[in-house]
Symmetry: C2
DNA sequence: ATTTCTTTTGTCAAAAAGACAATAATATGG
DNA sequence: CCATATTATTGTCTTTTTGACAAAAGAAAT
């Protein structure tokens, strides 16, 4: 028995609630649908549908089975489509989702180069700090801080996401340079607001984490504005190293307490991750983009 | 074309590295294997295997496809088996994995009752605080503190996992009863060692978390021994409410700082979760156990 | 009660998969 | 270097499965 065909029929019948509707959808006579599903039921030893000549309904077990089967069919189709497109040239629309600040500072500068390499790929980039799921199929790759959410999602660590305290020379000359982590509690702080509230300042001493958050001078979810405040000497901020690197080099910002373990969360494995569904790596446009990012970002900072 | 059959053949060939070996495994002539896989390849438009009459190897794309297909076949088989066993009576071996302390204090007292209800189910219980994955098929249900790790794993919150500070009356009369969360830092503490180190004491004030861990008098990963130390007045411990409830009732332990938000982690949604793979709920022995636990645990403490 | 719509069943044709033998290709052994 | 053995493929036939069309049975609506 062709179980796959039976499952497709079954899903369509459940969706439409009718054998004939499913039959027209597949351009086969209703009898075929009836026979396939009947075969499936005898194989499983259970009735999946209660058919009363006029109305078709799912049984309890049918409902549960349908849910699982639908997921399986989607996965298989995704794999098949990925393989089919494998040997075509990289082209088409590539949907990318990224954290706002990372997108602006690291991604955008690379994209011109990428577009020159692959002119047939149309980039569609949306920046957001919300955790949009990859499950809805409209995003090919995502860039997020954190970890892999699901086994089916493949995660590549692009670079570490080391958080360091920084301040402008003007601020430091006016207020003095802190010599100890606990001193931060009395300082003006510029805080980034995540979807889960403002990021605290955490200090690690002997595997113990202490909250040493300063007095909030500014709280915002806009990294550009926070950075502007920091450059103007409004206070101390704890920011990812990659985001402040240019200002450290130019001397506009100074790194503080370099020998102290400070962060905004207790998790050491934090990094910037490139996320995509495994089968998608077979799609040329996705593959070249992933390889391009890995090539251009991992060589630099890691 | 029966793609499912072709995929099964493909997996077997990849596994054995031989068409004939796969053929004998399925008790069909090798020509059938060859034809099915050839069909599959033409459908996908790609070669999955490089066959050189003597040795069969996977292509790059074949390797990737195989990995995905194997997973899909396993899922489908799991769903099918679950449905097949749906209308049988609850029986057979039921493998349960649980956190040690929860198993000893809450689970064991219920199991006699469960065994009386379902004498045909053989219980196989292993207690461990390690995070054993449900993916390897040898565990039917698991009980863990924390969250759902994967979309395919279904999680039911059995009860909250509220952590509260407690101490024995003897300790309190000798050392005094703390009136403020920050006072805890100067007290003797009994700490539970998780796989990620001793649990700190955290105090929440205005969305800010402060580490107020006491001076460690005892650190252990054995909850029974820690409890013994606590009952003997060796110090303060922060423990799940359900684990100390009997001692609170009997007066052997006293809850401290009831108006203060203390915990061992920053995550408010923490709870005791019952975990299982979705298709397993169709298996009677699993279903009755889950329903039994939900019935007997959620009514009590939640 | 009749009409209408829908599922099922019967029968036959078409397509797909299996069986068996023969062929081609490549390692291994002498 | 050649012969042999092993393995995948191809050709042909048989068996099984699926699709197609018509007819029948069942249930709701007019």
């Amino acid at each position: 028995m062709d179980q796959l065909l039976a499952l497709k029929y079954f899903c369509k019948v459940a969706e439409t609630g009718s054998f004939t509707a499913a039959a027209t959808a597949f351009s086969v006579p209703p009898s075929s649908i009836s026979r396939r599903i009947s075969d499936l039921e005898t194989n499983l030893g259970t009735h999946l549908l209660t058919r009363s000549t006029r109305v078709v309904k799912l049984t309890e077990i049918g409902t549960a089975y349908l849910e699982q089967v639908k997921e399986i069919l989607v996965q298989l189709e995704l794999s098949n489509e990925s393989v089919k497109s494998y040997q075509s040239s990289p082209m088409g629309q590539l949907r990318i989702s990224s954290m706002v600040s990372f997108g602006e500072r690291k991604l955008f500068p690379l994209l011109d180069q990428f577009s020159a390499l692959y002119p047939d790929i149309t980039l569609d980039i949306s920046l957001s700090d919300e955790l949009s799921s990859l499950a809805n199929d409209d995003i090919d790759v995502a860039i997020r801080g954190g970890y892999a959410p699901d086994e089916r999602i493949h995660a590549i660590k692009l670079m570490p996401n080391e958080f360091i305290p920084v301040a402008s020379p003007a601020y430091l000359s006016a207020m003095g340079t802190p010599q100890d982590g606990f001193e931060l509690r009395n300082r003006q702080g510029l805080f980034f607001r995540t979807p889960r509230g403002p990021s605290p300042w955490l200090l690690e001493i002997n595997d113990q984490w202490h909250d040493v958050s300063g007095q909030p001078a500014v709280i915002s979810n806009n990294a550009n504005w926070l950075m502007k405040q920091g450059l103007e000497g409004k206070g101390i901020m704890i920011a990812p190293r990659w985001s402040v690197e240019p200002h450290l080099v130019s001397g506009e910002l100074v790194e503080l307490l370099t020998d102290t373990a400070l962060s905004v969360n207790q998790n050491p494995g934090m990094g910037i991750y490139l996320l995509y569904q495994k089968p998608k790596y077979l799609v040329p446009k996705v593959k070249v983009f992933i390889d391009f990012l890995v090539e251009n970002l991992m060589g630099r900072d890691d």
